[in-house]
Amino acid sequence: MKLRTGTAVILLIVLVVFAVGLGAYRGWSQERTRVEETYAGLENMLHTRVEAAYNLLAVAGRHLDQADEEVKAAARRVEADRDILEGAAALRRKAAANEALTEDTKQLLSGLSGMASVKAYGNDQWYVDSYLPQMMEQSEEKTARANYNTAAAEFNKKLNSTFSGMIARVLGIRPAEVFAD
């Protein structure tokens, strides 16, 4: 009788642990999927930043021969930022590149705007003064609105502070990577 009771208790504990573990794992997996869904939105928005950088460099490319070193350096930086955003870099690095892109495009646009060759060349003055800044601004706003960061931060906070989160971590659920600090 004693043996039967002990076996039953152990079995019950095993079942409870298994149920809690399975529940925690499945629940946190779903949470993680939701965060990844918002990441897809962020990725999409970052793609518009990359496109904007390509467009800006297409215009800049027509005038770099006549540009001073400062403008040329800004163009090189925009190109580097774009490459990081487009590549498979870590999210923190992409966040840094995204912030740098905002500054670098402003400098490049400002440098191009004053150039005589830009003034003389078809639509380029309009591109530099109006079209491209607007496009960069819109893409910047969209990226900021992509709520990946909030979702990721909340997920990490819950994962680290709850009992089921601790179990989920033991079972292999990893914290989400944060886009910016």
């Binding site: 990725e43 467009n55 079209y131």
Partner: protein, 240 residues
Amino acid sequence: MRKIVSALAVLMLCLALLPQARAEDYPPFQGIAADVAGVLSEETIADLKTLSQRLEEETGGHVYVLTRHFLGGVSAQSYADKVFQVWDLGENDTLLLMVIGEESYALALGGLAKAALPKETRDSLMANHFRSAFQSREYDQAAGGAARALAQALAKAQGDGLNVSGLFGAEEAQQPQATPRPQSWNEMWEGMFAQQDYSEEPWDWDTEWEVEETHVNWRGILIWALVIYFLFFRKKRRRR
């Protein structure tokens, strides 16, 4: 149920991560001319529609024109090919993409149009009728010239002629009411014959009038001779 929801979520995530599958990158189908960049005049757009209508009557095909400012790093050719697919254009159709801010362009063609216009022919047409105007940022002239040349070549490849008179700044084919009023009887006869011979081609008065004049004079003389014959000689025969 949860499994299905999870599977759907993962599927949606995968689809969202595909960079080339973004539907918003391609403008919706807007008919013959999709002037997204806003560089074409209303007249050119109207002429493109008329040209395409005439081409459709002859060959069943169309020449579409799409303008954009930039493509965000995508090559013009792959973008044009993708738009051709997204718009579900036909085997006889041709799409001309003009990327204004990047100074690039591309043609996408359906299977039959491609067979009718091999690459060398297309390159030659674009070099002669498009490139120079495009580089000079004369977008109306570039789009009109390319569309007209492509449409004519497509019609010719199928053994048809294509009437392009009155389109893209070309002079209208001479209609009877548009002909200058003749100043003499002889000119009246000339005008009559000229209208018959040149009803489909724009009339260049400076160069072609003199050539036509030599032909028509003979006809005029013949007609005057007949008139004189009926007036005088027939009467004389009766008197005899």
